[in-house]
């Protein structure tokens, strides 16, 4: 399992845990069980975890599929800086968040799932993984000047493109070789104009 980025699985697990915490919390609060305030906490914690885990991190190798609409949350999570980048922080944060929900039966499943997500994040952090935001590359505007190539400086017959040196390289070689390719065509056989 050399190529696995554990953070990917931890992310899926944490997102699922967040949803389970929300569901359990709704059941506990709506039913007004004893200590139902833990249920209310669970909803809040679940929402927070879902929002934090929604933007997928960028994989080290290969391309990553973004979750739809994750651009907005990526900006917010990025603002947290090293707190969001470091997986140790996430591991302990999830561990801490999962504890209060463990007091209520309706939300204990969320606790267990979030605890497992926290363990996987710890493993990811040990392996030195980091959360890198997926950012769209700024579109490079093609500059008008550079797309126009230099017209050929010598008349036909011309050698093929590989033998033809670029003008910038020719300038560098001027001193060294003083070769025939940069300047005007030097004919091997003297050519005379026979028009009388």
């Amino acid at each position: 399992m050399g190529q696995i980025e554990w953070a990917m699985w931890a992310n899926e697990q944490a997102l699922a845990s967040g949803l389970i915490l929300i569901t359990g919390g709704i059941v506990a609060t709506a039913g007004l069980f004893t200590q139902w305030y833990f249920g209310a906490y669970s909803i809040a914690a679940g929402v927070f975890v879902c929002l934090l885990e929604y933007p997928r991190g960028k994989r080290k190798k290969g391309s990553t599929m973004e979750r739809c609409g994750q651009k907005h949350m990526t900006k917010v999570v990025k603002m947290l800086g090293p707190l969001s980048r470091n997986y140790y922080v996430r591991a302990f944060l999830h561990l801490g968040l999962s504890v209060p929900a463990g007091f209520l039966l309706a939300t204990i499943l969320g606790t267990a799932c979030l605890f497992i997500a926290s363990t996987i994040y710890l493993l990811a952090a040990f392996r030195g993984e980091q959360w890198i935001p997926i950012e769209s590359k700024p579109k490079e505007r093609p500059q008008v000047g550079t797309t126009i190539k230099q017209p050929p400086s010598n008349p036909p017959p011309r050698p093929p493109a590989e033998a033809r040196k670029k003008p910038s390289e020719a300038e560098a070689e001027e001193g060294a070789a003083g070769g025939p390719t940069g300047g005007p065509q030097v004919n091997p056989v003297p050519v005379t104009d026979e028009v009388v």
Partner: protein
Amino acid sequence: NTTTELLATVAGATGLVITLALILIMTSSTELIRQASYELFWYTHHIFIIFFIGLAVHGVGRIVRGQTPESLLQHNVTFCRDRYTKWQTGTSCPVPQFSGKEPSAWKWILGPVVLHACERIIRFWRFQQEVVITKVVSHPCGVLELNMRKRNFKMAPGQYVLIQCPSISSLEWHPFTLTSAPQEDFFSVHIQAAGDWTGALCKVFGAEGPIPMESCILPRLAVDGPYGSALTDVFHYTVSVCIAAGIGATPFASLLKSLWYQCESEAHTELNKMYFYWICRDPGAFEWFADLLLSLETHLSEQGKAHFLSYHIFLTSWDENQAAYIALHWDEGTDVITGLRQKTSYGRPNWNKEFQQIACQHPSSNIGVFFCGPKALSKTLQRMCHLYSSADRRGVHFYYSDESI
């Protein structure tokens, strides 16, 4: 405390454990994780053992109560439920008695568990069987072709096998589509090095080294299968459209080879016309099945059935040098990349146009569309099938099948 009390019961503990197992299985089975690391998906999926044992044991505490069989004999439910006020001892409706119901989940899961156990036993038995590797070919773009033989191995075109290589990992079985035809005396798979296990397999078979290996030091392989897939239906339609992207052409290779043999033997199938679209990013990828397509092309034209197979190859990425080379050789009789008479097209296919043409040519037929490749293209093709199927029952209908694992 409710939580500790309930978790101390068998039902509570098993309930929590099996729900947790199910969630772990679900999160490790998403498409992303499966593609990133098949091993993680494979190993985590085996938690289902805990799931089923927990499910069977879940009701042992008899917490759910039901009417006892003796009470059911004396108290007829359908009769007595409307006479609730008259329930008394001595009348025809004595007060019903309840006790804990015995666990019944095992009745539901016994059948599937037994079937799965049989499958595992068969897999173990097949693991013991000998597989002889007759040929190993290393193709460009990191594709390894393995030709093998096994006693009593019978296949149909389009099926797949599970392969295990004990020297790489003794617990992992990976699925690969068969690329040979049933009429051949060997079976073959084309494996692309796309992950840990496949990369290790290519290395172990010496795909990277220049020196060919001796047959005695080739690693042992175990093969389980063949298992069916939707592609076996290709020969049941009058018209079939087969679309492959990259290494997704492997299942169709088996079909095309089988077609070749069927032409030779003059076997009769319902299939009248086959369209084959192959979309590749790398020109080197065509080398995998170039000779197959070439021999099929010549063979069909010899037999006078040149109109039977209509294939289109699309190359979707090239650089300047390649483009210049292609442009230079544009007017030649055979295609410069594949050597086939049918010219390669450049860029992605215009599916609207293709489906429209096919629908016009076969106005009132059932057309099977088979695809193997990435999901985005699959969605596009499904949309096309819906768009170009006629609302009239007698008109043209496209039936879509997806092969991707």
